[in-house]
């Protein structure tokens, strides 16, 4: 079957988002590129200030006042440069978003049924009664019991988990192809989080949705994502399939994140391997690699190599498997190096202990 190569559902290339602040302009996202295919989930992982939420808002065209450069294409259609009117026709219909705090995204004065039905009326020109029926169906589909009755209730009458279900119903009622979920379960309890993640996965399968799951929780990524983009300081640090990333992170930051996690299944007799320092400020970006000041690979490198990390910004380069990339001058050197360093450190320590042992006793 020689079909025309279809454009990916979402293709972002060389995305740059710049804010003007009283303290100067801030490049919150820089040189970012990624792809989301229909039926797949891209997990975007990062800490505060990594640019993960800014990226999602840029895709949705929800950045007032920010300067957006590069290209964002939804099923082949370029979104940058569209007018607000054109964007609002796409939002909800072709792409939709859910947020961390559903209560602040719902209007307190309207029933949830009315709020969901409004989307159907705006995008499909449906009549009031038909739109309402559709809203009730959708509430049932996201697992809200007694949907017909609950459609007549107000947001404050729903629990946190049920509100997030309402948000999902609202996002998907016009059958978009792309769902962006920005920390959708961060405010929820872990048992409710499990329900919501399961719901999103089911709806994705039923509808062939492309999903962007933005989170700081590597456990959530491991559970739901097919592909992962790790962001640091507004840029891509690493992109990989979920199994490759967790099996062998190529970027020292990805490795640092994984190593620093306390896990339910680890031995707990040695200290966690914490990443020193704190995430960088975007107001004064370093000329080189943003992670260099905290990087264990850079710290162990020769002065010459270290200078390179401090002055030359690493661009994402292919690494290992197809479509895998890492933005590090020494990508992958890490895995081997860590093992080696660990070994040398251990040997050194043993040697030292042997040496100092007799001196310890007074």
């Amino acid at each position: 079957m020689a079909a025309l190569p279809e454009p990916p559902l979402l293709q972002v290339r060389d995305l740059r988002v710049t804010f003007t602040t009283p303290r100067g302009s801030v490049r919150a996202v820089d040189s970012l590129g990624f792809t989301v295919e229909a039926g797949r989930t891209l997990g975007i992982v990062g800490e505060s200030g990594s640019g993960k939420s800014v990226t999602s808002l840029a895709v949705m065209g929800l950045h007032r006042g920010a300067e957006i450069g590069g290209s964002i294409a939804l099923a082949g259609q370029e979104l940058t440069g569209l007018t607000e009117r054109e964007l609002s026709r796409l939002r909800g219909r072709k792409m939709a978003m859910i947020f961390q705090d559903p209560l602040s995204s719902l209007h307190p004065y309207y029933t949830v049924g009315e709020q969901i039905a409004e989307h159907v009326r705006v995008h499909f020109g449906a009549r009031r009664a038909a739109a309402r029926r559709r809203a009730v169906d959708m509430l049932g589909e996201v697992g809200i019991p007694e949907p017909a009755r609950r459609a007549g209730e107000y947001p404050h009458q729903f629990s946190g988990g049920m509100r997030q279900r309402v948000m999902i119903a609202m996002a998907l009622v016009c059958e978009p192809d792309l769902l962006i979920a920005d920390e959708p379960t961060t405010a929820l309890d872990v048992t409710v989080q499990a329900q919501i993640l399961e719901l999103i996965a089911r709806l994705q399968q039923e509808r062939g949705l492309g999903v962007v799951m933005i989170t700081h929780d590597l456990g959530v990524v491991a559970r739901v994502a097919h592909d992962v983009l790790v962001m640091y300081g507004g840029r891509a640090a690493e992109q990989a399939g979920v199994d490759e990333l967790f099996a062998g992170p190529a970027h020292p930051y990805s490795r640092g994140l994984l190593d620093s996690l306390p896990r339910l299944d680890d031995a707990d007799d040695e200290p966690l391997r914490a990443i020193p320092g704190s995430p960088p400020s975007l107001l004064a970006p370093a000329p080189g690699c943003a992670f260099a000041p905290r990087c264990h690979v850079a710290a162990a490198a020769t002065p010459q190599q270290r200078r390179r990390c401090a002055t030359e910004r690493p661009e994402p380069r292919p690494y290992g498997a197809a479509r895998r990339s890492a933005a590090c001058h020494f990508a992958g050197a890490d895995t081997a190096a860590t093992a080696q360093t660990a070994q040398t450190a251990q040997t050194a320590q043993t040697a030292q202990t042997a040496q100092t042992a007799p001196e310890v006793s007074p």
Partner: protein, 337 residues
């Protein structure tokens, strides 16, 4: 077991002197907190919580929002006065003491809060923040400042930054300030309420390591309150799982995590996403139905029964009490598999 050995008031002992072997550092019995509802029925946020904590031990207190873990923590440090029940610290019931009688004991029990920035006064320098507890306890200004600098070094801050203000520090550093303040008076017990959950993932491990090191160096006991079960497993010796104001399971960390007996503990543990995609795909999850019920209208009998797959008739009518099962205490009519 109630062993009363001598009048507790006579023990004006120096710091960290030998403890009476019969009495743990902290003995909490039947602790209950009822808040008057404004328009609703009174809310029993904590309902008969009991546990012991030995000197130098860490008890993890876990549960979902509204389970009463923070309220419990606040009663332990007497930021809240319990409605009933007792908190015996070092043999002395502190739950009913007047603020004046409490003051000399406060130095032994300190608290670390979740949000490092909002728990530090933005208009005070670090010197002032850390030395305030010492000044309250009667130290001279010079001594307090010197001690503050030592404490900064102890928690991994640069002592030269002593005259800076909280906003000049990152979240992780601000939490170090909060910890330094809690250590100023040489406490024996620290109640830490979600001390790492507001921090970035890469910074959490630093603070966890710091707290573990301090515990070892200073012989501290912690009550570590958190919703993150991985972090709690990491730091705790024993763990108590709370649901709707009650402890449903409490015991040794290892056995509780590896072989949970209460259906809620099992569901909670199976809901935590593991940072391992291969394990995640293989895992069998117990997905609970519905949300935790409101503490204003708790279900009858075992409050977990509406969400429990194993619930029988007795669970609807009879409240299960904590009973020793498989080397820990479980409040369930049908513990285990």
């Amino acid at each position: 077991m109630t062993v009363e050995t001598g009048p507790p008031d006579t023990r004006a002992r120096p710091d960290r002197a030998g403890t009476d072997p019969a009495e743990p550092l902290l003995r909490v019995r039947d602790l209950t907190m009822t808040f008057a509802g404004r328009r609703s029925a009174p809310v029993r946020a904590v309902d008969g919580v009991s546990f012991d904590l030995a000197a130098g031990e860490t008890l993890g207190l876990v549960g979902e929002s509204g389970c009463g873990k923070s309220t419990t923590g606040r009663m332990l440090v007497r930021l809240l006065e319990p409605t009933s029940g007792s908190v015996r610290f070092d043999g002395r019931d502190i739950s009913r003491l007047s603020p004046r009688a409490l003051r000399p004991l406060r130095r032994h029990i300190q608290m670390v809060f979740q949000d490092p920035h909002s728990s530090l006064n933005p208009r005070q320098t670090v010197a002032r923040i850390i030395s305030d507890p010492l000044l309250v306890q009667g130290a001279s200004a010079v001594d307090a400042r010197r001690r503050a600098a030592e404490l900064m070094e102890l928690v991994g801050l640069i002592p030269e930054h002593i005259d800076r203000y909280p906003h000049e520090f990152s979240g992780g550093q601000a939490q170090r300030i909060g910890i330094a303040r809690s250590l100023a008076t040489g406490p024996r017990l620290i109640v830490a309420d979600e001390p790492v959950s507001a921090l970035d993932v890469s910074v959490q491990a630093q603070i966890v390591n710091l707290m573990e090191r301090l515990r070892a160096e200073l012989g501290l006991a912690y009550v570590f309150i958190a919703h993150d079960l991985s972090v709690v497993r990491r730091v705790s010796d024993r763990v108590a799982v709370m649901y709707l104001g009650r402890i449903v399971e409490i015991g040794d960390k290892k056995s509780l995590y590896e072989n949970p007996q209460h259906p809620y503990t099992r569901a909670l543990l199976s809901a935590v996403p593991l940072p391992d995609p291969v394990a995640e795909r293989r895992r069998e999850r117990i997905v609970l139905l519905g949300d935790p019920p409101s503490p204003a209208a708790p279900p009858s009998g075992c409050t977990f029964h509406p969400r429990c797959a194993k619930a029988q008739a007795i669970c609807r009518t009879e409240r299960p009490l904590l009973q020793v099962t498989a080397s820990r205490e479980v409040a369930c009519h049908f513990p285990g598999d």
